[in-house]
Point group: C2
Chain length 384, copies 2
Amino acid sequence: MTGELSAMPDIDPASLFVTRTAKPKVPPPAKALVFGHTFTDHMLAIPWSQSTGWQAPQIRPYGPLHLEPSSTVLHYAQTLFEGMKAYRDKTGKVTLFRPDMNMKRMNKSAARIALPTFDGDALLDCIKTLIRLDAHWIPQEVGHSLYIRPTLIGTQKAIGVNPPNEALLFVICSPVGPYYPTGFKPVSLMATTEYVRAAPGGTGGYKLGANYAPGVVPQKEAAKLGYSQNLWLQGPEHYLTEVGTMNLFVVLRKNDGGVELVTPPLDDVILPGVTRDSVLALARDHASGKQPIAGMTGKLEVSERPITMKEVKEKAEAGNLLEVFGTGTAAIICPVNRIGYMGKDINVPAGQSGIGDLAKAFLQEIQGRQMGTIPSEWSVIVSE
Amino acid sequence: MTGELSAMPDIDPASLFVTRTAKPKVPPPAKALVFGHTFTDHMLAIPWSQSTGWQAPQIRPYGPLHLEPSSTVLHYAQTLFEGMKAYRDKTGKVTLFRPDMNMKRMNKSAARIALPTFDGDALLDCIKTLIRLDAHWIPQEVGHSLYIRPTLIGTQKAIGVNPPNEALLFVICSPVGPYYPTGFKPVSLMATTEYVRAAPGGTGGYKLGANYAPGVVPQKEAAKLGYSQNLWLQGPEHYLTEVGTMNLFVVLRKNDGGVELVTPPLDDVILPGVTRDSVLALARDHASGKQPIAGMTGKLEVSERPITMKEVKEKAEAGNLLEVFGTGTAAIICPVNRIGYMGKDINVPAGQSGIGDLAKAFLQEIQGRQMGTIPSEWSVIVSE
């Protein structure tokens, strides 16, 4: 899609220049962290223009962007982002979790809304430099991490609905605490039949800003009814798609006594989540016997297949709905204990500890790989 | 939706303060204008916060906004806008066209994505002050106008997907030339079966930034195939919905020899366009005999009803597809002469002058009311 730009300069980590802040801040105590409210001393910014391609990456003090009021991002939602986490263990080693997945997805998102694509490895190189510079901001406490937010916006200074002739890629970093500071807390879902998150032919399969603003009011309405999040459905069949801003998994007991782990197929409607992909990979390696998950016994069938509310309801009534959980970078695994649907509640077992056995097993497997206690090629070293 | 904020200050035109630019620019010659590229000397800005409500409106020199990189508009597409035009006649009188419709729609858009609502009359008051200050920027040439772009963005400085605790309403103004500088030029449409603009339960009925970025790539793909714009379809029935960023009208010859003017019903999927509403009102007043349109003879039936590509194709094959046109603030009326659908072209009559009789009649009626040659309550005086 950006073939016409192929001769233009791509992101070049060798031309990265760093301007250090003159006023370094003191990172707040880990306990005081609120998600997304605190940012580190520095940010990465890489301008792009149609006539020059990607310009020299800059690491500079965290601070405001000066955007013309005509900037297309402010009018036409020319924005996309990624969410990834850096972890620091007790030895000081800093790692990222599957960052190549984020770079690939970011490029897919960019192509979908005619923003410039780029060399993902080159961007990752620049991000690593930024993380190393602000590494002392990464809390070392278990479950804590540095949330990294690469963002790409259209900055054309003229209000036309076109591929923008200017863009800005920036990366900011926010130290974050654990999603469950006081033990697991399963969430309740409101299966909305009034709003949709995405439709076939739309943008649900891409991490675009445009997918997020429309979800806030449905979320408020769910909260008013006493539910934590929306369960997004699709089509007159009420196919399950996503949970709030997370992917969705359902665990069913089969007629033969086996267990089926179900997640809806992507089909360009569902966000290709990194955690979703990780759960599927772990589950398939377990199911095939390649790498059994500790403590997980019995037969497991892994299905990427459509699943309707009718099926979920019937399975629940028959006592065969075992678990429901969301997956995402923020919570990793988020257990569900209740689904409101068409005026009635479907109860979902969530175990005595607030999380089902399968959900807990996946959480431990992923956390172990993120924190380095389980060696894995998914963990990418930033600094030792 | 903002009931909890009802005790907070609304927009107050009495507290508006004006900072004039120290460096006024010289408006470019009308002939040199390119849509959305030139902005006037001043802009209007009205900050809002959850704790203070709407703050004092400011008119200040046009210039960059200083936005934190964490501003939610940059991540989650918390943005909506309006497009309206001010006209200046030869006597210097400045008018707006149905601005109350824009204020109402802007509030509906705000409520849909949990941005703060406001007193539309109060905002309009402030906009009128801005227009009077920069009135010398409005070209007096026929067909020229000042395009006014009110925009509302979420500026919360923390990256959470929530109703933002800060927002900014700003208004910028751009002098624009006529849409057809050298006579009518009908456009060709590519009826896309690959992409959708909006779906039931989505945001198609609101003027949100989120509806625009996703349309750029489909538009590029239509252009590659030799079409000017996309014709957006909906559902397996291929209902016609919109054209590019315009509403859509189809003119059919009925079996009884009468003429039917068809536009799809809003149904929360289609943008409630001001020009769409104006065409419908003019057509209904003509049909009822209340106010016949000059030169329009014969019976006219006005229908807001669903219409499928199957029907359009069949009518065209029978010689009963008389006209297709888009309506919007930029072009007012945009005639269509060809629709690409499922690999074949449907030809649409567009008249010898490039515009059909009905389309031309509506254009003249609306332009007359905008320019003041046809007295109308739709024309609102800004300054005499």
